[in-house]
Point group: C2
Chain length 769, copies 2
């Protein structure tokens, strides 16, 4: 079926670009990208360069370019570069003429395919077919097969290798480039980063099939190294080029070049089809638990899979590393984790691939020292997590981030120092993981330390108002970043109390069950045993903006109701420049009720237990005030709208969230000089939240799971798998009935509640309604 | 002697404009103004109007013009308007030619005098002489004598009366104007303000001398009413016109028009010379205690008297009303009191004319309800005084005050809600008055209530940090307004503790001496008796940024030392527009150490007892970082420089402060569209502070007064009178010796300490050194 934005799908497992649209280089590059959580490779054409936003972003390569204001991941040279000339004319999407054109992304197996026929200005024609993937079996490898068939007699020149020129957002990351020919017929490029001197090694091996070349040589050209092949082809003859590129670096291993060479040599020998087979098996394993099958709406089906695909390839599964806010689709947001990781990306793994979820929460444990350093630097103690968190957990967000487009002056954004909800969010993530898995051993070994240190941070951050006998949290930003410098932000206060309560709970259980481990942890962290009493007192006396008894509305922060009431559409007219930032210090939204995203909605989406009338009243109050300046906003709106009995709005927001990247046909990619492309990873994860927590109304219970389904009107049914405390639940919610099965391979019975009625399911047992 | 800015003085008792300079209309109008604390009348020419900034600002007439963002005093029509025509040619400073020109302000008796000879384009000449004063004997009256002598045969036409067209800064204040001829030969104008419907009455009477008119009639012309006289003069003949204008309003009395008419009729009959005599006596009384005589430096002498003059005419002595930040010289700053009143204007009265001082502190008692309303509105209790305080003490400062000149957007300034030091400043003033006078009865009847309510406000404003066992004051502006939104501002925290301690002290003395009055006060205010314990605890545990043990520097607020270190001169280069505001939200000073005025210097100027090394170290640290964007800044710098043993800098800052108005030759009067003229009343009062607290090193002691003189190099001696707890001390500090005399009319002995050595002086006794 045809989709928007020049796309189509046949099976719901692939997206196809119907024809080449040069105006959509940026979006197509992101949407058709391949990746494996270690590297992301954009869906660009073989001979493109920096101007066309070719990128291969590699995680764990944070480095600060000279003159840049922050660390970011490196974009490494393009090892899949190939230039094709037919009788001397370069084959390009921008010259000659395209006959057939087919560009597709296979979501099931993560393969980018491009097929076309091309006719040069001289009338000679070529059939071109490329398949490439970022190996899910060996994360260092990019693998490609290129098939070129002459449709006329012609000389075919191939220049293939590693293009050293790199599109880098904030300056040059490499202080040295060493292209070289390597043993065993490989070519390579060894790079060293400017700040931290990380060594990045690239090796490339090829295997040729079809007509043999008449001429072959290798050539270093500046920062690049290429292989040159000449083929004298008769009409119908073809050449098959298989390329394997290995990318390794010294942050992961001692001898990156050696490893890259060994792995590339081995893989090249194995050959494309065999590599593809191993790769595909890994993807099958992913989809087995993660697929959401939708009957009756192919568009929703492909959108959902597209978002799950993008969320997955953004997630490092090979190491405890962050999920970047733009994944590995480009360098925007520095390849670093924000609070999105816990709130938008973790849930789908916590209830499916818990090994991946564990990596994500373990990452927060690994970065505890950075969070401690940040707290100390700002005059607190405990763990204040980085707003923008890379390898070490030190704060990567600069003091001055935005630039005032009206004056050219840098803006002091306080995301790094006032947006303290990040620490409770980390606790929220750990608790979610623990609740979903029951992995107490993780809490004992890692989680408890995070919980305690966050509690300590909160204890050093709160203020006690004696006259009101309550604790307050002063001067924060909630998720709604248009309002900096606010007090008693509902989201922050609720989550902080949540955080303190969980710390107390873990403390108490440890005291009871593992007093020696508690003792050891307190000794290690230097936390006084009496601290627990403080946490409890703060939690108990924490001021929580309550729902108003009459209107049921929770005030987003002290004084919010007193701000100017205006709708986002009307407010927008006050812009002087369309690229203006709406928030701090003097953006148009600051003194109004207009929100970037709604904190209270976010709160209702995250914490269960608010009564129906509170859900509904707050949704109805905040929704019209929300500008959705954040890509995180539509998915929680969809989720809460669904629970607030606004199914049409829920579906509208679902579509908005699910199409943020795929249907974004905007040609405008620069705002105030900034590249704005790239995949919105949180929105991608948000699609899972909408469907499972929103449409299926899933929530955890003490003994299992509860569902309050609200099937979208255009869907016949949807079906997904959840792993809840070890049990695998297959859930099918449809117009014709509901079916929940505790899979045979589940280790125990589980309690399932459906629209309020509960039952226990033994392994293999099915609840049918 | 010649002074700067086209001025001269002969005796040190007058300033003379040497020639007419049309570029200085604004400054001359302010500097040569007359006034009596009820009304201020600018030193403008008789036939000028709104374009030449003619103004007669009357206190207690606050009203908000339609479309204006704030209340301000009304500028009333010009009752001293006179247009002179000589043979049909209008006598003007801008046409014809001036012969002799002499424009003077008699500081001793508050008389504005203008004499000139004028030759019209037709060659006919006129001798013109005007003397006018704002009666110090009857504050409703403006009195003028105009003498016109023909130097050639000519017809002289006089059009004299009340010009209804008014220069008003922020819109039209009068919704009705009723010009009328009144009984007894008077003419008048009755006005009603738009917002509060205050009735303002003006009556004018004239008396003619010299040649009688050949023609006389009255005529209403729009909003104005004029008398027309024609004189047929021979060379040498003269006309003397005496005018008395009475201005009254319904905020002071029930029947303003009646009163104005009665008073004007009576005064007109009395005649100019007699009125002048009564007026002059009042001025003699003022100077008897308030003059500071300086030998050896006539310029310093006249500057000092000019500033004392301006400070005095800005001070309402007829009622408990505020001293405006620009006095009554124009409508800028709304004729309202700021913290300047207590810190810059009160001291000179507290130690001289204590009846005036008492009015000023009583004004704060009178406005307690407004301060209570403000506290309540902002979620506190007790008394949060208005940043900008008019009649009722309700906050007159708008949320949005400045406009961003780069974007045209209003700026949310937080002077009204975050600059909380105003409340402790009010206590400081009351305590100063009480210490200077010993007027315990005032404390019992009025002061205690203010002190208690401010203590209550502070108790509701502070935050307790349990982890640090201290009270903090979060999110304030100190006097340095370039840094809004700061925590633990040294000035604010020290003054708040001061304030709480004084409340406890008064509470305790009342409990001991007047328990029933304490009880009555607690009942009246609803303050629980236990509140005193809270005040004490907060005072004791108040976090005070201490002098660093090594450098002795007090950090202005949390994190100040970490701001960018740059000097004001260098910072200025970052301005995009010269009119930009340097402070909140994103002005050039915000993220730097550059100060508008130095809070710590201000603190050292106000609270005694800091060791010498702290004075010196902080002066040397903060002085180069201070931009002096406030006119309040130079005087405290002079004072502290003098005490910090930097006599040259002290004198430089003295001259800067003393000449802010008089030597301000700037032609630029509009900034971002705002009128910036007018007298800097705080700087005027600051001159007294510099000389008495700085150069004489005066401070109060438990039993009297202490002096640590630092005579300016160019002065032979200076001499002033202080009233300290009823005793009158005549202090002469000179190169040839020091002489301190407890005047015969003092009621008791007093202890006087000179450079550390103390002695008791009986009435009439002299300390000579």
């Amino acid at each position: 079926m045809d989709l928007k934005n020049n796309l189509r799908t046949e099976t719901g497992w692939e997206i196809v670009e119907k024809s080449f649209d040069p105006d959509q280089l940026v979006t197509t590059g992101s949407n058709f990208m391949i990746g494996n959580g270690y590297l992301g490779y954009r869906g660009t054409f073989e001979n493109w360069g920096p101007e066309e936003f070719v990128a291969c972003v590699v995680t764990d390569t944070w480095d600060q370019a000279e003159g840049s204001r922050w660390s970011e991941l490196c974009n490494v040279p393009n090892g899949l570069f190939t230039e094709i000339a037919l009788d001397g004319e370069t084959c390009s999407l921008f010259s000659g003429s395209l006959g057939e054109y087919h560009h597709a992304l296979d979501l099931r197996h993560g393969i980018n395919t491009r097929m076309m026929t091309w006719e040069g200005p001289h009338g000679k024609r070529l059939e071109f077919e490329s398949r490439k993937f970022a190996s899910a079996d060996n994360h260092h490898l990019l693998v490609q097969q290129l098939r070129l068939r002459a449709m006329d007699d012609a000389i075919l020149d191939l220049k293939t290798g590693i293009l050293g020129e790199v599109w880098s957002l904030n300056g040059e990351h490499f202080k040295s480039h060493r292209p070289a020919t390597l043993e065993g017929g490989l070519i390579g490029l060894i790079l060293k980063t400017g700040e931290l001197e990380t060594k990045i090694a690239m090796a490339e091996g090829v295997r040729l099939g079809g007509k043999a070349p008449s001429e072959t040589f290798e050539k270093i050209s500046g920062r690049s190294i290429f292989r040159h092949f000449r083929f004298e082809l008769k009409k119908g003859q073809q050449v098959v080029l298989e390329k394997v590129v290995g990318i390794t670096h010294s942050n992961e291993m001692m001898f990156p070049l050696q490893t890259a060479c060994d792995e590339v040599r081995e893989a090249t020998e194995k050959g494309f089809e065999s590599l593809l087979l191993d790769h595909g098996k890994n993807w099958d394993t992913f989809w087995e638990l993660s697929d959401i099958r939708i009957e009756g709406n192919l568009e929703a089906q492909v959108l959902t899979r597209f978002n799950l695909y993008q969320a997955y390839i953004a997630t490092p599964t090979h190491a405890n590393l962050p999920v970047g806010a733009r994944g590995l689709s480009c360098q925007v947001y520095q390849g670093a984790a924000f609070w999105d990781q816990e709130t938008y990306n973790l849930p789908m793994y916590a209830f499916t691939h818990t090994d991946i979820a564990r990596r994500l929460v373990a990452y927060r444990f690994d970065t505890l020292s950075g969070a401690r350093r940040k707290a100390e630097k700002l005059g607190y103690y405990g763990a204040f997590y980085a707003w923008t968190s890379g390898k070490t957990g030190d704060e990567l967000f600069p003091d001055f981030f935005f630039t005032d487009v009206l004056t050219g002056r840098p803006i002091r954004n306080h995301f790094n120092c006032w947006q303290i909800h990040i620490s409770p969010d980390v606790v929220y993530g750990i608790w979610l993981y623990y609740q979903a898995t029951g992995d107490w051993e993780f809490i004992l070994g890692q989680g408890a330390e995070v919980l305690f240190e966050v509690a300590q941070f909160l204890a050093s951050r709160v203020h006690f108002k004696k006259d009101k006998n309550r604790y307050e949290i002063i001067r924060v930003l909630g998720p709604d970043e248009y309002h900096e410098n606010v007090d008693n932000n509902a989201f922050t206060n609720y989550l902080s109390r949540f955080s303190l309560q969980k710390a107390c709970r873990v403390f108490d259980r440890m005291q009871q069950e593992s007093p020696e481990r508690l003792q050891a942890l307190l000794s290690k962290t230097g936390i006084a045993p009496g601290a627990r009493k403080d946490w409890e007192e703060i939690a108990e006396l924490m001021y929580l903006p309550e729902p108003d008894p009459k209107s049921h509305i929770i005030e987003q922060f002290d004084g919010y109701f007193g701000l100017e009431e205006i709708r986002p559409e009307a407010l927008r007219k006050r812009l002087i420049d369309p690229d203006e930032y709406w928030g701090w210090p003097n953006g148009i939204a600051v003194h109004t009720q207009v929100l970037k995203q709604a904190d209270v909605i976010q709160l209702l989406a995250m914490l269960d237990g608010f009564p129906q009338e509170v859900l509904t009243a707050n949704y109805e109050f905040y929704e019209p005030r929300t500008e959705h300046g954040s890509s995180l906003s539509p998915s929680v709106h969809a989720l809460v709208a669904s629970r607030a009995k606004h199914p049409e709005e829920a579906y509208r927001y679902f579509m908005e969230s699910a199409t943020i990247d795929l249907y974004n046909a905007s040609k405008k990619v620069m705002s105030g000089g900034s590249f704005l492309g790239g995949i919105h990873t949180a929105a991608a994860g948000g699609v899972w939240l909408i469907i499972v927590k929103g449409f299926a109304g899933f929530s955890l219970t003490d003994d299992g799971a509860a569902f309050e389904p609200a099937l979208p009107e255009t869907w016949e049914s949807f079906c997904f798998t959840l792993r809840v405390r070890g049990c695998l639940l297959e859930v099918t919610l449809g117009r014709k009935g509901i079916r929940i099965r505790n899979r045979e391979d589940s280790p125990q019975q589980i309690h399932v509640s459906l629209a309020g009625k509960g039952t226990w399911l033994e392994p293999g047992q099915v609840l049918q309604d």
